[in-house]
């Protein structure tokens, strides 16, 4: 009928609908599913973000280590490096001589790098200076040169 006014649904109907068996449970299930899905999505995205951050940090650390190594390689020069390597070679030969006991030839010492030879000459001259000027030479006040730890 035209003009007939349909009465508005009463609130009691909605409340009664909620009280109907299954409706409330369905809503709870839907909410739980939505929350579960959101948590899973967040976890998945978070995992990817964490992995990306981890790989970025790992790359950063690797490049930092490489850069540090490059900067350390600028010093000292090859001559000083050779003296350190000479020391290692002496130690290696001593170790080898202790291990192999059935040789029929005497070992030859490792040849000396240029800087070490200069140091040896300078030290030898200093000892000669000592013997020429007497046992008690003037004690200098020059500072002791020590490498930093």
């Amino acid at each position: 009928m035209i003009g007939a006014v349909t009465p508005p649904p009463q609130d009691d109907d909605g409340r009664h609908a909620l009280r109907r068996p299954g409706v409330a449970w369905r809503m709870v299930r839907r909410s739980a599913a939505w929350v579960g899905k959101s948590v899973v999505r967040l976890w998945v995205v978070g995992l990817l973000v964490a992995a990306a951050m981890g790989s970025g940090m790992a790359l950063n650390q690797m490049f930092q280590a490489q850069g540090q190594l490059e900067s350390l390689r600028e010093q000292p020069g090859a001559e000083a490096y050779a003296v350190v390597a000479y020391r290692r070679e002496l130690a290696r030969q001593i170790e080898m001589m202790g291990r192999v006991r059935s040789e029929d030839v005497v070992p030859q010492p490792p040849s000396r790098p240029a800087l070490l030879e200069e140091i040896d000459i300078a030290r030898q001259r200093n000892r000669q200076v000592l013997t020429q000027t007497g046992a008690v030479g003037p004690v200098t006040t020059s500072p002791v040169v020590n490498a930093p730890d």
Binding site: S55, A58, Y81, R92, S142, A147
Partner: protein, 243 residues
């Protein structure tokens, strides 16, 4: 009786008589397969990205913290060889730099003291500290003497064994001609033993003379040893103007 084929292909009465719209899809509803494909693609992309990130993390971690050593490369510090991990390489290089620092300053100081004709008080840990070059040289010379003694001991021991053998043969020998020959051989071995003992005492054999490590010859120009020309033997160890 109804045709069974028609009954199968037709819709059930309950559906046909209902007032609800009947939609029949052929295959799958539109966009439904697209969504499934999109989900699979997303999962694959996610897995690929995650794998890439994990691979990068693993690679970088291994590159930095690899604990292994490469025995084919000489390390001036480690007996095992050159470390492969970047962290250990940095540590090794720091140690080398600490050991080698101020060597030139030390040399200048000693030269200046020589010029002023005074006793130098300058020291350098690489040379004079425990485990330094001076101590290692002393140890090397002592070991060389020990090797030399061992060689003489073995030589004299062999001669002693020969003498004992000749003496045993001589005691059994009844033929005077053979006995004379054995006596001659025995005297020869005894002379040789005496010579070896003398050489041992006086260091008379040049072939068995130990060269003091402090008097070793200078590195040859074309030497490829890392302690002679490290810039040639290990060019990767030097960067910038140091190379």
């Amino acid at each position: 009786m109804d045709d069974p084929e028609e009954a199968i292909s037709g819709l059930p009465d309950i559906v046909r008589n209902s007032d609800r719209p009947i939609i029949i899809y052929q295959g799958a509803p539109p966009n439904q397969l697209d969504q499934a494909a999109g989900n699979s693609l997303g999962l694959l992309s996610w897995l690929a990205l995650l794998s890439l990130c994990l691979f990068i993390i693993g690679f970088c971690f291994w590159r930095v913290w690899n604990p292994a050593y490469d025995p084919s490369q000489v390390s001036p510090v480690h007996a095992e060889g050159r470390p492969l991990g970047l962290a250990r390489q940095v540590e090794e290089r720091r140690e080398i730099n600490a050991l080698a620092s101020d060597l030139v300053t030390y040399l200048d100081r000693v030269r200046a003291d020589n010029f002023d004709r005074r006793r130098t008080r300058a020291t350098h840990p690489l040379l004079s500290s425990p485990g330094g070059i001076d101590e290692l040289r002393r140890e090397w010379d002592a070991k060389c003497q020990s090797v030399r003694e061992g060689i003489y001991d073995r030589r004299i021991g062999r001669l002693d064994a020969q003498i004992a053998e000749f003496q045993r043969q001589r005691a059994r020998q009844s033929d005077p001609l053979e006995a004379t020959r054995l006596d001659g051989a025995l005297q020869g071995v005894i002379r040789q033993r005496t010579l070896e003992v003398t050489n041992r005492r006086t260091d008379g054999d040049p072939a068995l003379r130990c060269v003091p490590s402090a008097l070793a010859p200078l590195c040859a120009r074309d030497s490829k040893d890392v302690w002679c020309h490290p810039e040639r033997a290990a060019p990767q160890e030097f960067s910038g103007k140091a190379a």
